[in-house]
Structures are given as C-alpha cells and as structure tokens.
C-alpha cells in the first residue's frame, strides 16, 4: 500500500517535471533535463476488465477482452496456431494489463492503435532489419542521482536483455553508445530500488533519480569524501567511517564534533583530560610530544580545531573519518592522528527551492554537588579546634604582627583567636561556631552560583538550483546559558554558497561564511568554592546570610586584619564572592570570515582540472574587566598604595583593570590539481594529482590597561612598570606593577605535492596507491629538500563478485589490506639555534646572548606507519552488515629529547628518536533484528587499541613516571603506584616497601646519598590510563512514524587514581575529602582503614606517598547510557494539505549516567572524585522541511 502511494507520488512529480521541461525548451536553454521514473505510465484506459481463465486458448481470451472493452483485434488465425494456452486472472484490470498478460511469452507482437489491436508473428531480424536497427541506434548519455540530486558514482546501467554493464563515473554520469532507441535501461545501485527506463521519447541527457530501497533499513552511504576526492565504497581499499546526516542529527549539540563521539568506530572520547591527552583520539595515540588531535577538514581544507565552534552543525551534511594509511595518507604530514572530514550542505542543480528549519532547546540539570565527597562542616571545625589547641596559630594572636604578613585563616580559627584576645566572649564564639556547624557551602553554591543550563539552537537554510546554477544559504543562531551563573555563549553563523556552470564542462563555485561567537562570564567559577582542599574555603563557610545578603569569606588576607584596617585611603579589602559577579565582566568575541572559490574544468572525457582557493580571517577579541570594585582590583590597589608625607600615593590607580587578548589570524589555502576518472571495459581508474600550499599567520597581542574610568573613558597611560614598590601585607616583599603586555605570533607554511590513483579490474580487484611530499617552515632546509614522502598502497578484493562465489547468505564480502605512512607534527621543535638575549655580561657589561636550544636542521615530520586489514560483509537482505578491521599503527621518528654526544656542543637536543608500537581492532556490526511494522535495528561498535613505547632516550625516574613519562615497554600513559604495606599500627602513618621490607613512607620516597630508595622498576604498574576496549551499542526501534533509539557506551581496561584526603591541603585550605572520617585514629584502626591518621603538622611527602599508593588505584571500566532519542515524523503524505514536506519532532536526553562501573565507590571514572560529571540534559527539537 505504501509502495503504491509512493509510486503515485513519483508519477505526479514526473509530470510536473515534464511541464517544466517544455518551458525550458521554449526558453532555448541548451541543456535539457528529463526526470524519468519507473512508475511512468502513458495514457491510462479506464475500461475495467475482469478475466478468470485456466488453460484457455488465446483466441478465446482475446474475444473476452474485446467484449468487455470494445477493442477490436486484427490477426491471421495462422499466426495464432501453436500459441500457448493462457492462465489469467484479472479483477478490474486495464486493457493493457490484460493484453500484457496474454502476450507474455507468446511468439507474437501486438500494436494498439485507437482501440484496434494488430497482432502478428515475431520475426527473426533479417539482415536488413539489423541494418535498420543500426540506424535506429542512438547514444545514451545521462546522470544518476539520489533523491537529493547528489550523483551516484558507480551505479550500474544495463540495456535490458543485453549482458554488458556500464557504470557511472564519480559524477554519476554515464554514456552508452549504439543503443536501440526502443531499448529499456535497467539502473541498479546498492541500497536503492532498481529502476527501468524506456528510451522511447526520452530526452538526452537523462537525469535518473533513484529511490532508497526501504528507508532506514538500507545502507545509504556509499561515497567517502576524503577532502580531495569522492571515493566509491565498493572500490575503496582504506578504512573509512561515514556518518550520514541522519546520524549527525541524532544528537543535539552546539559543536559538530560532539555529534560524532560514540557513533564513530575507533574514535575514543575522554571528557576529562587531566593528563596531557587529546579529548578525542582516533585509533589511539602514536606520538609523545607531537600533535594529538585528529586533523579536522571542512570542504577540503584543514580547519583550526580551536575555532571549531565557528561551525554550525546544521550546515554539515556528512562526516567522513579517515583512519588508515590509504584513507588518510592523502593528508600526508597531518594525517597521523586520523582525519575528520566535514562536508557542508550544498545546493543542487535543477532542484526546486527547499527550505529547512531546525530548532531545539536543551535544558540541563544543575551540576550535582553532592557527588563531591567533602568533609562536613563539623569535621572541618573539629580540625580547626585541634590545630588551634596545638598552638599552631599562637603567632596570630597579635593581629598586627611585626612582620606585616597576614595570611587568611579559617573563620573558626579567627573566632578562637578573637576569644583569646578578648574581642568576643567564649559563649559568643561557641554560638557562632554552632551556627557554622549547620552550614554546607555547597548549598550556597547550588543556590547562588549555578543554574540549569539552557541551550537554544535555531537554523534556517534554503537551497535550490536551475540548470546552470545552484545555491545554498543558511543562517544559524545559538544561545547557551551555562551552569555557571553569568556564563553565556552565543553564535551567529551565515553561509552562502553558489555554483555556476557558465559553459559546458566548466563549473565555478564560490562561498562565503561568517561566524560571530560571543562568550561572556562574570569571572566566577563555582568549582573554586568547593571545599575539597584545593580551594581556600571551608565546608562551613557561607556565601549569603539568612536574608540572602552576600557575605564575606576569608581570602588571601586574614579577616581580623582586613576588618580592622584603618589606614586612610585604603580601599575595602574584604572578599564577597557573590558581589564579584557584579564587578567582573569577561567577554570573548570571535569573528571568523571565510571566502572561497573553486573552478573545475573538464578538459577531456574523464580528465578534469581543479583550482581551489580559500581565505580566512579570524579575529578574537578577549576582554577581561576587573571592575573598580572587584576584589582583584581593590587588592592590587591596596598592595601598592603608600603614604608619602601624609599624601596617599596610588601607583595603581583606582578604576577597572582590563586585560585584553587580541588574536588576529589570516590564512589562505590554495590547491590545484587534475582528476582523471576513466572506465573502459573491465578497467576503471580514479586518480588525482596536484599541488597545494597554505599559510597561516597568527599574531597575538595581549595587554593590560590600568585605571579605567568609565566616566571619562580613559585609562592610566602613565603606569610605572620599572619601580619596585613595597607591597602591603606581604611580609616585607617588594614588587613591580604586574605587566601583562606581550606580543607574539606564529607563522606556518606548508607546501605539498600529492598524487593518488586507484585502479579496479572487473569490479573485483582494486589497487590503490597514494603519495605525498610535504614541506613546512617548521623544518629545516635539509628536511624540506629531502624527498621524505608519505605514501600508501592498498588492495581490495570484492570476493562476492567472483564467479565461483556462491555463499547465498552472504551476498557481499570484501577483503581489504593497506599499508603506508602518515605524518604528524610538533610545532615547537626548533630547526635553527635559538638565543635568549636581553641580559648583560657580568664581565664586560656588553649585551650577551645565550644559545638556548641548539636547533636541529635534520628535524623532520613524525611518521605513523599503519597496516590495516579489513573485511566487509553483508548478509542476505542486509540483516547483518559490517566490517572487521585489524591494524598496526606505529609512531616512528617521534620527536623527543635526545641525549647527545656532548662533543656536538649540546648534550640534549630535540630530534626524531622515539617510537611507539600500537595495534588494535575495530568492529562495526549493524543488524536488523526485526523488520516488520515494528522494526528493531542495532549498531554495535567495538574497538581495541593498545600501544607500547619502543624507544625513548630519557630514562624514567619515579617522579617522571608519576607524571606518566614514557617508559620503554609500557603503554604511553600508564598508571604506577607505590606498593602499600598498610598503616603503621603505632601512629597511622602510611607504609610501603623497600624490596620485601615494610618501610615507612619517608624511607620509600627518600634517597640514600643522592640515590632514590625506590627505583622505577620497584613501582607497581597497574596499566593504562586510557581504555584499551571501548565502543557503543545503539538500538533503534521504529514503529510507523515513531523512532526510539538509545546509545550505550562502554570502556574497559584502564585505571584511575581515586582522590582521598590530603592533609597538607586540609591545613592550608581548610577543606578536604570525606575520607577524613575514615582516618586512622587509634591503634587497631589499621585493620579497618587505609586512610592515614591526621598528622600534627602537614607533611607533603606523606600525603604524596598515600596519594600515589596502590590503595587509591581503581579500575576505570564502565558502561554508560549515553543518550535516548525519541522522534516522530510527519510526512507530506500524511498531511497533503500542509506546505511542509516533512516535520520531525524529537526529544533527546543525554549524559544519562553510568549503568555500571568497576569501582563500587560511586565514582564516575571519567571525572574522578573532584570533577562533577556533566549534568543530564534534555532537548526538545523540531525540524521542518518545505
């Protein structure tokens, strides 16, 4: 039923198009295009025929038809002799249908002419007939496109009844010579409905539109866009992941990359990059000091990842991820971490105007502060009292100490001190302390510093085209309110792209895009008020009083000093966190403008020349204003203010301090090349060759202005940065006025030559080769001149196309193998010796310059060697499809410090000397579990990735290993710990081992005559910091127009260090981890707990030993419910009266939390204990197409 509807619809559309065609012809356009559909039917006779015959002679049936329809039949009875008997059953059929059934398989032909049917014998074609046929033969030209008008390369075209098959080229075009003008073409394409077209009356060139076979059940994508060319999946050898528009729009985000996490095979996303890792890695890491991020490409040109927020995700049509050497090596020196190619939406030729509108609103919960395990108010007070008792604060009895140094003390300590100097009574103090016991600063944070997030996104685009031009234009607006009060983000994007075909074979394209990003904040960052020991605040601190008035908390200086201060002219020195919100204004604006143009010209059949150019200007203006009333400004003014002969002097003038950060980046890219695509017989060649160059010039101007006066709009232009001033409350320190001015810049230039060729024989065997040579100004003359190419070679075998292949259950089976080299970059390696100048020689007073780095003229690109073996399958009816890939990915010539022969003049220099060996498996499985009215689809991604350092010149030490330094034979980022020997039963001190001997912590971390007691090999190696197994399972349930899908992600095989109490932090910042409650307190506790006792004075090495002990290491394995999406589609069919072609309404919920994790302590390993997991969000969205 549904199919019938669709067929009818297609028919109507076709009729419309044909009318169009006539108009176009009248207007004498040179190119005429005709849309032909299978369901095309000519004049329909309304007579209804009913037949029910079994083994009936033809003559009898014809008579019956004549009777019912009024048609007459002309034939010779001889001709009817020996014809087949007919079985026919027809209810309310047409004459045509009846005739077709009657003559099917008969040795007869018939011709209908005004209700007269002439019948005659089929004749073998005579010699003359063949000659005539030759004259009747025509050349067929055309193009095969999908529903959206995008070309379908390598679609097969067969003349019905002939064995030869022609394929379309990368533009979807084909040409068949000498076809009978009455012939019927059969067009086939995987994932699309087969189409038959009669050439009779067809107008050349044909524009053939294919419909997707059965909606979402079929594999839709087939073309990989590498940024240089479009590759047919059938003929590709490399490892690609294609994310189509549907999948991209499954999730809701401001940033495009957020939409490919957890749906891309081999891509791992780590939200918490506490160690030097990239949040996003493709097939692991194969560098030590080099770039870690994948290369991002937009429409063929690399994009600065820091500027990625300038892309409106709604402008992106699809994403292709290039993973192995064959796929990525065309990107040469920057492909080592994989390449993410973003393809923007385009207009299409001969397409009616289409408008699409998207809007969504996302609401996020407040960060869950109760996730953070901090000490209670009572516990903090307890510690304060204990420390007070030990006499630690006796030095603070005198508020105005002789040393002019007044570090902040916690509120309780101040109260106790006040009692002792009789400022308040014991009872008053106790009452106040009792009040504090009921506080939890997290409540104040929750009520005054954080909020629910609201992200709004709107996008409108319009596209269409005529025969000679097409266009796409879009406008997008985002407005995000972050969970930190005062933080806002908005973005406006505009994009316009046009394509022209002014003459045959020439296409010109031009685009312009503009993005304006604005981020603002009030400078308050709520995690800074969490009493976790890292911030100077107690659990019992309060930010507001009962009446919601902002309160003072001790900050930098002790309250007793600040409160009593009575120096005339000195500004108030108190700190009220909530008032800061009114006094700080941070704004950051990014304006990104891109213009580009390209030209492609078909020189010969199959040979095309291309030139592409893009210019980009990005201006970033940051402005952080510390208002005149902000603590920052008041503090600086007070520190420097002094009195001279009774006159107050302000070296730092009152008024706002504004920090400016202006980045100005100009970059351009140019590329020119030739494409050659040709098919002859069983041979098919796709190739490109070209040249490209790019330059990016970035200048950063950072400066500060003091003493801004909004009344007069002036700054203090006479700041004295030279003089040393005595600094108030610094213990006698002096300082110059902080000077933040700096000017810096980078210039990167890249020049490359590239070539890529793929040859396919007989649709079975494909050989691909690619090569690229890069030069950059990051490297020395020697490296740039040396031919040091990146290359790849690949083979693919479409086994299922072989004649001997007969696995009916597995109609598609392809094997792939590639090998080659990609590159990677480390931008701060020095080719030339660099000097530090500015100082004067102590001997002569002459200006002197120190050679700081020796430079290395031989420095060159890091190399990533990739071997990829792949298998693609598809079972019958696509029930299961997917791929399995095994790879080796080795980082070679990695840039690191190298110990060198001191004879050279430098004992350490930077060069290409380290290496990493990596390997892994990527599995993608898509299955159709149920396929009826109710459909159930699953997509499983599984990845395995491990690596090991194989060469590194710098020997590790215990200290560097705790900072995850490379260690030969171990994963790149590993977790080590001290072996734990329990707590000392005497005093609750942590203990470890020296050899087999239980030893105190200070022996374990200490040294004997300069040699550390613990050596790197004595540490426990737990394993990796990033997962070795990861992936996702996405299930989609479809019923009628409702679709429900949810994505579960998992990570296994890694470890993390769980935080616990650090007493040194507790002593300096009055807060800490709730493990405090579990601490050792009396002998015997060591049997129950591993938390060390509270020491009398902080001992950093004791806390550090405990922090780095094995007892705090946990497995990080987890399973997470990433998101759920529910959507409802309203099609045009359902509401024919509406102007909308399609309406989609959806609900999307994400960050739904852990389903399971290996640790049983309620810690989300992705965030640890001191970072709050990203709150849950829920979005509601609407897409309209009309």
């Amino acid at each position: 039923m549904e199919a019938a509807h669709r067929a009818a619809g297609d028919g109507c559309e076709t009729m419309k198009k044909m009318k169009c065609k006539k108009i176009l012809r009248i207007m004498k356009f040179t190119t005429l295009i005709m849309i032909v559909c299978l369901a095309q039917v000519s004049a329909i006779t309304r007579a209804q025929i009913n037949l029910d015959e079994r083994k009936a002679p033809l003559q009898k049936v014809l008579k019956a038809i004549g009777k019912q329809s009024g048609y007459g039949f002309i034939y010779s009875t001889d001709d009817l002799k020996g014809t087949n008997l007919i079985d026919i059953k027809l209810n309310n059929g047409t004459v045509e249908q009846a005739l077709k059934l009657c003559f099917d398989g008969q040795p007869l032909v018939y011709e209908v002419n005004d209700k007269i049917v002439k019948i005659k014998r089929k004749t073998e074609p005579s010699f003359l007939d063949n000659i005539i046929a030759r004259f009747k033969a025509i050349d067929v030209k055309g193009r095969v496109v999908d529903q959206e008008g995008k070309p379908l390369p390598n679609a097969s075209i067969q003349v019905k009844g002939k064995s030869a098959v022609t394929n379309t080229n990368s533009e979807g075009e084909f040409e068949i010579k000498g076809v009978d003008e009455d012939a019927v073409l059969v067009i086939r394409y995987v994932g699309y409905k087969q189409l038959e077209i009669s050439l009779k009356d067809a107008v050349m060139p044909l524009e053939i539109k294919l419909n997707v076979a059965t909606g979402e059940l079929e594999e839709v994508k087939v073309v990989y866009k590498t940024g240089y060319q479009d590759l047919n999946k059938e003929r590709s050898t490399g490892s690609f992941v294609q994310i189509d528009n549907g999948l991209l729009n499954r999730s809701v985000s401001t940033n495009i990359l957020d939409r490919i996490y957890d749906v891309t095979s081999g891509l791992n996303y780590q939200p918490n990059t506490s160690i030097a890792r990239s949040p996003i890695t493709i097939r692991g890491i194969s560098t030590i000091n080099g770039e870690l991020k994948p290369l991002i490409v937009v429409d063929g040109f690399p994009y600065n990842d820091y500027n990625l927020e300038s892309i409106n995700p709604n402008d992106i049509e699809s994403v292709t991820v290039l993973k192995d050497a064959a796929a990525a090596s065309i990107w040469g020196s920057r492909a080592g971490n994989g390449v993410i190619v973003l393809n923007t939406k385009k207009g299409k030729y001969n397409q009616q105007t289409k408008v699409a509108f998207t809007s969504n609103i996302t609401q996020g919960a407040k960060p869950d502060l109760s996730y953070l395990p901090v000490m209670t108010a009572a516990q903090s007070i307890e510690v304060d009292r204990l420390r007070f008792k030990t006499g630690e604060f006796d030095v603070f009895d005198d508020v105005y100490t002789s040393i002019d140094y007044f570090p902040a003390l916690s509120e309780v300590v101040e109260l106790l001190l006040a009692v002792r100097r009789n400022s308040i009574t014991q009872a008053e103090a106790e009452a106040k302390i009792q009040e504090l016991t009921n506080n939890d600063v997290r409540n104040d944070i929750k009520n005054h510093l954080i909020q629910n997030t609201i992200n709004q996104q709107y996008s409108l685009n319009i596209s269409g085209g005529g025969a000679k031009m097409n266009y796409f234009g879009s406008v997008g607006y985002d407005n995000n309110k972050s969970s930190n009060i005062g933080d806002n983000y908005n973005r406006l994007t505009l994009r316009l792209e046009n394509a022209f075909r002014p003459i045959e074979n020439l296409e010109l394209r031009a685009f312009i895009s503009y993005t304006q990003n604005g981020a603002s904040s009030k400078g308050s960052y709520f995690p800074n008020f969490i009493p976790d020991g890292r911030n100077p605040i107690s659990s019992y601190s309060a930010l507001v009083d009962q009446q919601e008035n902002a309160l003072t908390i001790p900050f930098v200086y002790r309250s007793a000093y600040v409160d009593k201060l009575s120096i005339p002219g000195l500004l108030n020195w108190q700190y009220k966190p909530l008032e800061e919100l009114q006094n700080v204004n941070n704004n950051n604006k990014i304006n990104d403008t891109r213009i580009g143009a390209s030209m492609s010209y078909q020189i010969l059949s199959g040979l095309k020349a291309n030139v592409q150019y893009q210019f980009n200007k990005t201006l970033t203006n940051g402005q952080n204003e510390h208002g005149g009333e902000s603590f920052y400004t008041r503090d600086l003014v007070n520190q420097f203010m002094y009195t001279n002969n009774g006159v107050n002097i302000y070296p730092i003038r009152r008024g706002s301090i504004i920090d400016y950060q202006n980045f100005d980046q100009d970059s351009w890219n140019i590329r020119s090349g030739l494409n050659y695509d040709k098919k002859w017989g069983n041979h098919n060649v796709t190739s490109i060759i070209g040249f490209e160059a790019s330059e990016s010039d970035l200048n950063q101007d950072i400066y500060r202005r003091y003493g801004y006066d909004p009344e007069t709009n002036t700054f203090n232009t006479q700041v004295n940065y030279e003089s040393q001033y005595n600094i108030r409350a610094s213990g006698g320190g002096t300082s110059v006025i902080p000077n933040r001015d700096s000017y810096s810049g980078t210039l990167s230039r890249l020049r490359s030559y590239y070539a890529n060729v793929a040859y396919t024989y007989n649709e079975r065997y494909t050989l691909s080769l690619s090569g690229r040579q890069d030069g950059a100004n990051l490297f020395g003359v020697r490296s740039n001149q040396k031919i040091n190419p990146f290359w790849s070679a690949g083979l693919a075998w479409n086994l299922s196309n072989e004649k001997f292949y007969n696995l009916a259950f597995l109609p598609y089976l392809k094997l792939r193998a590639t090998y080659g080299y990609n590159g990677n970059i480390k931008s701060d390696a020095t080719v030339y010796p660099t000097i530090t100048s500015g100082s004067l020689s102590g001997l002569t007073g002459l200006p002197q310059a120190d050679l700081t780095t020796p430079g290395n003229p031989s420095i060159r690109w890091e190399k990533v060697r990739v071997l990829n073996l792949g298998l693609d399958i598809q079972t019958r009816n696509n029930v299961i499809s997917g791929s399995l890939e095994y790879y080796h990915k080795d980082g070679l010539d990695l840039i690191s410090n190298i110990n060198n022969d001191p004879t050279a003049g430098f004992s350490v220099y930077t060069g290409n000397n380290a290496s990493i060996k990596g390997q892994g498996i990527d599995v993608t499985l898509n299955s159709i579990n149920m396929n009826g009215h109710f459909k159930w689809l699953s997509n499983l991604l599984f990845s395995y990735n491990v690596e090991e350092v194989t060469a590194f010149d710098q020997a590790p030490t215990v200290v560097t290993l705790f900072q995850s330094a490379p260690y030969i034979g171990k994963p790149l980022y590993s977790l080590y710990s001290y072996k734990w020997a329990g707590l000392d039963p005497l005093n609750g001190d942590p203990r470890g081992y020296i050899g087999d001997k239980i030893s105190p912590y200070n022996t374990v971390v200490g040294s004997t005559s300069g040699v550390p007691n613990t050596k790197p090999e004595d540490l426990i190696f737990h394993g990796r910091l990033n997962p070795s197994y990861f992936g996702s399972l996405r299930n989609t349930l479809l019923y009628k127009n409702i679709s429900l899908s949810f994505n579960i992600v998992y990570e296994f095989g890694h470890y993390f260090r769980r935080p616990s109490i650090r007493y040194d932090n507790l002593f300096s910042n009055w807060g800490g981890h709730s493990d405090y409650a579990l601490r050792w307190q009396k002998p015997g506790d060591e049997k129950l707990t591993n938390v060390p006792s509270l020491p009398a004075t902080p001992i950093v090495s004791r806390d550090t030993f405990y922090e780095r002990s094995e007892i705090l290491v946990e497995k990080a394995d987890l399973i997470r419910l990433r998101d759920i999406r529910l959507s409802y589609d309203i099609n045009k069919v359902a509401t024919t009266t509406s102007t909308f072609q399609n309406i989609k309404i959806y609900l999307y919920a994400s960050n739904l939390g852990l389903l399971w994790t290996a640790n049983k302590k309620g810690i989300d390993p992705d965030f640890g204990s001191f970072n709050i997991p990203v709150p849950r969000t829920i979005s509601i969205g609407l897409n309209l197409n009309f």
């Binding site: 100004n777 002569t844 002459l846 003229p857």
Partner: protein, 468 residues
C-alpha cells in the same frame, strides 16, 4: 569553440602559475614559525653570542691540565673528599672509573658550537652596506679565534703531544665545524688538529682589530700571541718567534708589580681599575667539579716557592702564607678567587720570544726580553741587576725557570711538560703519593694525554687514546 579553447588555456595557466607561485620562492619555507623564537640572524645577535663571556665564551679552560701539572699539591684529605673522580684522576694521572669528566669536554665544545653557529650564521648573512663590512669581519675573526683557542685547549688535554714524525697518525681531537648537533664526531689526527687551529687563526689574522673593546674579544695582538703559543706546543720555535714578535710589536706593555699592594688578593684583571695592561685576551679556567683543587685546596710546592728571590715581588704578590705554613696562590690576573686567568698576556709573549731567541742562539735578545719582564717584577727599592747568560743554552734554562715562575697557575705548565719531555735536558719524572700509593708520570707517558670520558666514546664510537 574559441571560448572553450581559451578556458582550457586559462585553467592550464592557472595550474602552472599556482605551482610556480611557491615553487619559485625558495626561502618561502624558511620563514620563522614562532615569531618570538629568537633565531640569531643579525650581526648584533652574533656579537652578543660571542660576548656570552662569563658562562661560555671566556671560561673553562686548562683546569684539568693544571691539576695534573707539577709545582703544587693537595692534601690527602682534600683529594679524598673531592666530589667527583675527574680531579682525583687528573691529580694521579689515573683512570679510575667512573671517569665522568664531562664538564671540561662538554663546556669547551659548547664554546666551539657557539663559534660554529656564529660562523654558519655569517655565511648566510647578506652584508647590507659598506659600514657593516668591518663589523662583519670583526665578528668572524672573533669566532674563528675563539674556536681555535678552544681547539687548542682541547688539544693540550686530549690530543697526543705534537710529534712531527707521527702527527699524521697520532690521535687528535674531534674537529667540529658545523652547527648541526646531529653530526657524528670523529677523531682527527694530531696533524689535522693543529692544521685546523692554525688555519682558523690565519684566516682571522686580517679580520681582527688591533684593539678590541674588551680583551674578552679576540684582537690581532692576542691572535699572534695565541699563534705563538700554538707553535710553541708544536716545538716549532721559528714560527713561535715570528708570531710572539708580531704580537710584541703591537702590544708590549708590562705591569710594574711595584704598583700593587702586597696585601692584594689578586694582581688584577682587564676590568679592574686600573686595568692590568698585560692582558691581551681574557680567559679563565673554572669547572665546578674541579674548582676546589685549584683554589682552596691548591698548595704550592715549597721548593718552587723557594725559587722566588726575596726581592722578587711575585714572592709576596703571588702567594699567601697560610697559618700552617703552607703557601696558597693568589696571583690571579682576574679579580676572582675561583676563576684563574689562563688568557694571553704580554708577560707570556715576552717569555715566548725570549725562549725562541735562546733556542735560535741569540743570547742577547733572549736575555733582553727576559730582563724587560723581570725588571717589572723586581722590588724598586733595590737596584735590579739584570739576569745574564753565558751562552744560548744557559739563557734557555734560565728563561725556562723564569717561565715556570711567571706563568704559574696559568694553565700553561701542562703544555710545557708535554713539549719539554722530548728534550733530554728538560725531561722530568713526576711523582705523587696518595693513600700510600705512589703515582708516577714518566716522560713520554701516554698519560700526558687525558683519556676521553667513557660517555663520549659510547656516544660517538670514537677510539680511546692508546694506553688508557
């Protein structure tokens, strides 16, 4: 059709132009990537590098040789408590592992590297105008002079003593002339080593000025002094005479020690007021790991001390009497108690010319030069009786004694021991006793060449000096 042709033409043309665009500009990829990275490119950059005097360019010479030479001793306690093996080994002419004397080697080659970076930079430098030529030449001369000085110093420690008959095959030092740190080091022959030193100096001859702004920079008189010194270590007295004479033609002023206070802790350097006029080129020996051996722990042999005549001011200006009766050295040509002067002075050029005259048979000229010097050392309250010699041989031996006395602790004694060993008249055997062990250094011993530190051999694969 015409249009199509022209499009074909234009597209091809665009391709060609685009390719040429970058292809033409050869230095397009040479631009500095990090604009704040200071790559030395200007003449003032190069001069500033050569003026990095206090830590690299005018320090770290000859210390090991001075420790190994005679005329002084350290106490057994001081020897034992030395923090590294380098000084202990140098003092006892031994190779007790771990022998990690990287400091001297590394720091001196760092000086070579600075010079190489400057020379390499200069070779790529385009002189902008006439005025720059002189500055350019001056800097180039300084770099060559510095490199030669460093090579010569290294050759006195690590190259086999010069012997004309075997110098082609004797192991010299690695000669590094490139600013590429990745280049592999190889040991040259002794002949090659000295050839390079002389080549650098001769090239610098016409580049250096007569008078430098400060004697931390090379100058013509200093260059001739260094050339004389080099030829002297090669036992080539003809050339030594030639250059010592050239140097003295340009600078011959001497310091009258009568102008110095007897309580002074130093004689005074180029940067003291008044400046020491004898200094042609300033250089000091200092390495952290061996400093104690040459400063606080350095005790002068009583026998040597006794050779100084009571009317010889050096007896009081060079030595400090310690409470326990031992003598320490304080005659530094620089105001420092740790950085001992090893540069070139006119006193040295006088002594070199005197020695050469004596060796050439010119007794009168030899004694004239000697007396010119000694006169300035003699107490002016007494009448100075000029030294006299009955024949050249007598003159030579007197000059050598005065040379040792004048140039004490100047880093030259080790070189003198090396060259004088081949002469039956002056060869001597040195002995030391530490911890009941007697150490002997015989004339012509392989021990006159320091072993190359093991790390260096491991890195470079160069051969160790035979014997070690």
């Amino acid at each position: 059709m015409a249009i199509m042709k022209s499009y074909k033409y234009y597209s091809t043309l665009t391709l060609v132009i685009a390719s040429l665009f970058v292809g033409c500009k050869k230095d397009w990829l040479e631009a500095k990537a990090n604009k704040n990275q200071s790559v030395p490119t200007t003449l003032s950059d190069f001069q500033s590098m050569l003026d990095f005097s206090g830590l690299v360019m005018n320090v770290n010479s000859f210390a090991l040789g001075e420790i190994a030479a005679d005329g002084h001793y350290v106490t057994e306690a001081a020897w034992t408590s030395a923090t590294t093996s380098a000084s202990r080994n140098a003092y006892t002419w031994s190779l007790n592992t771990p022998y990690l004397d990287l400091d001297t080697w590394r720091d001196t080659y760092e000086r070579v590297y600075y010079s190489n970076v400057v020379l390499n930079g200069l070779s790529n430098y385009l002189i902008k105008n006439e005025l720059e030529i002189e500055t350019y030449n001056n800097i180039k001369g300084q770099a060559l002079f510095n490199r030669a000085e460093a090579f010569h110093m290294l050759s006195q420690l690590y190259a086999i003593p010069y012997n004309k008959t075997t110098s082609e095959t004797d192991l010299g030092i690695p000669i590094r002339l490139s600013s590429d740190v990745t280049e592999k080091s190889t040991r040259s022959s002794v002949e090659q080593t000295y050839n390079q030193i002389i080549k650098d100096l001769l090239e610098a001859e016409n580049l250096l000025p007569l008078t430098p702004i400060y004697p931390t920079r090379g100058s013509k008189p200093a260059l001739y002094g260094l050339l004389a010194r080099v030829y002297m270590t090669m036992n080539d007295y003809e050339n030594c005479l030639k250059y010592a004479d050239k140097s003295l033609q340009l600078r011959s002023e001497l310091l009258d020690y009568n102008s110095k206070s007897q309580n002074a802790n130093f004689i005074g350097g180029f940067n003291t007021n008044p400046a020491n006029p004898e200094i042609l080129f300033h250089m000091t020996m200092y390495t952290s790991e061996i400093s104690g051996f040459l400063t606080t722990n350095y005790l002068v042999d009583q026998a040597l001390y006794n050779q100084y005549h009571p009317d010889d001011l050096r007896r009081v200006l060079f030595f400090r009497n310690n409470a326990n009766g031992t003598k320490s050295y304080k005659g530094n040509y620089f105001n420092s108690t740790t950085n001992m002067f090893t540069g070139i002075g006119t006193d040295e050029t006088y002594l070199m010319r005197a020695e050469c005259y004596a060796r050439m048979g010119n007794t009168v000229a030899a004694m004239n030069d000697l007396n010119s010097l000694i006169k300035k050392r003699w107490r002016n309250t007494v009448v100075f009786v000029p030294f006299s010699a009955i024949n050249p041989e007598d003159a030579l031996s007197k000059i050598l004694i005065e040379r040792r006395k004048e140039l004490i602790m100047r880093g030259l004694r080790w070189s003198d021991l090396r060259r004088l060993n081949v002469d039956e008249r002056f060869k001597q055997t040195l002995t030391r006793t530490i911890g009941g062990v007697n150490y002997i250094l015989e004339p012509g011993s392989y021990k006159y060449t320091f072993p190359i530190p093991n790390d260096i051999l491991d890195y470079s694969g160069m051969p160790q000096t035979p014997g070690w």
